[in-house]
Symmetry: C2
Subunit: 348 residues, 2 copies
Amino acid sequence: MKRKITLKQIARELEVSISTVSKALRNSAEISEDTKQKVQAFAKLYNYRPNNIALSLKNRKTNTIGIIIPEIVHHFFSKVIRGVELVANKRGYNVIVGLSNESFSKEVINMEMLANGSIDGFILSISKETQQLQDYHHFNETMSQGMPIVMFDRVVSDMNCDKVIVDDLNGAKNAVEKLLRNGCKSIALITTKDYVSVGKLRTQGYLEALEKHQIQPKADLILKIDDTLDYETRLDALENEIKQLFKANNGIDGVFAVNELYALSAMKVARKLGLNIPEDVQVIGFTDGVLSKHSTPSLTTVSQHAQQMGEKAADLLINKLENNIETEEEYFQTVIIATELIERESTK
Amino acid sequence: MKRKITLKQIARELEVSISTVSKALRNSAEISEDTKQKVQAFAKLYNYRPNNIALSLKNRKTNTIGIIIPEIVHHFFSKVIRGVELVANKRGYNVIVGLSNESFSKEVINMEMLANGSIDGFILSISKETQQLQDYHHFNETMSQGMPIVMFDRVVSDMNCDKVIVDDLNGAKNAVEKLLRNGCKSIALITTKDYVSVGKLRTQGYLEALEKHQIQPKADLILKIDDTLDYETRLDALENEIKQLFKANNGIDGVFAVNELYALSAMKVARKLGLNIPEDVQVIGFTDGVLSKHSTPSLTTVSQHAQQMGEKAADLLINKLENNIETEEEYFQTVIIATELIERESTK
DNA sequence: TTGTACGCGTTATCAA
DNA sequence: TTGATAACGCGTACAA
């Protein structure tokens, strides 16, 4: 079981100095053709590759991006990762993944772990717990150490860093307007508690759409789900809450849900109550998931372009990493990714 | 924008030597209480953390695991990653992700990239293209350099390395037997071309189940899909092929599909042909996905325990990495994860 | 044309 | 009790 070959070993074998080998391999003009040939041939034979760790230490640059997400078993986040990976690899970076599992402490620990030299910068979406606690000291510390952060989707709005967000407000607004144009008179909203930033924005979009059409929002039509419950109990509880929503409000003819699961559950409940989709109730969800496409009826959704978000985030981060010549004052941008309404069978 | 603080800076600031600082921080008995206190206080104040890269270089150990998968936007693989990450973090390792995107060359490049010192070992599932080409030189090279590999799910059977696989054959066999017990007489199989190792095994399970029940397999009932087609065109093509399957065989009353999408498509096509599920046709899929749970009717599936596979793979790899005292001859094991039949609405 | 010396940040060993 | 030195693997400025 032989180790990887190093410059030193090549040098010893060929009885030249290490720097000669180094230069020969980088095709330096300083080295004679003879030696170059000899060294290069030998290196090829033994499949020499420079050690990344040594390079990282020397260059104080790892060419690695750390990505911290709350959950990986999730279409949105895995698509974002794919986008990040795509761009990162193209630009010569690796991607190292940390999962916060929606926990504040795991987020902190993971970041500290990676921040100690393993990576050059972060791309992250904050955990629900962090959103609740509103404790952002780890982000500030990381940044004050000169390590850039790009936040995506769930961001801290008053933090000085690059951000990539979905146009949640307008995405929601457009969706609700679509329902209104389609003739819906009584549109229910199924959303999350307000501390989830994206849920809040989508709620706002719903309200603005109603307002624009001069419709008075009814509190009864708005269902705010506490999604900190665990997944197993959640499904039953969810459907129950939605059933109450339908029963408490006669004549719901449209539903806007801030994610895929809520939307699907709404369809399920509606059908159980004898309502047809889209004839009696039209439903729109907010998501990039697979369920929408394959459900029956398939679900009209507001697409978030998750992969594009990942790509953009990676580009922003790498640009920052490579622009050492940047202007004195830090310049941060917030990129807003437009949503797209994908019409399927759940709307007319 | 200050950099991270180093031993050297602390030493200079406190006017002691670097090694004193190092020892003081590790609470060495060699150092006086006074100095220790002073150094530790200062380090805490400036939030000193040793640089991982320097440690990696020195220890020739990165404490990082590389995971190479064909695709991340996929429930099975993201669940595996979660399992790997869980165990890895618990045992003090990070996880770095490489995507092959089902391409041989990307797999090779990604592995070379990571093998040059970035990681201590690999966990991987090989790409379809690699399976077709049967070119495994990169695995052999990596291992001959002393870097351990753990393969999962899609493995190379005659390769000397640890493996974690699903019991594809028996999982399939059990599923088909379930259909037989439920009264199915004419069971169709929707599978992949044989070069996909798991597809092949599941096909074999189907055949064995029939054989056990002394049923002659009919070639017409077996549909082998070429899944190298891209995703967009695939859905239509897929449904078309399945429709042909149904039309060519009157009286299909059971379908076993080697993945979720095939199973769902089968249900869709069956319904379009006026067949009821599970009354007229019973369907079982093979997967860990979300679609099964939320489809209508929900799909009975053979669960693969993806997360458990990831956990096991990580344990195997880390054990190998940390057992330097191992026996002389290399010892490799293949762990077989049992499947579980999750019964839902698509079977009686 | 080749080799020496240095530094990246750390720890271990040995000397003072 | 403290400090100097070497080493991990590499690239480069400078000396020979």
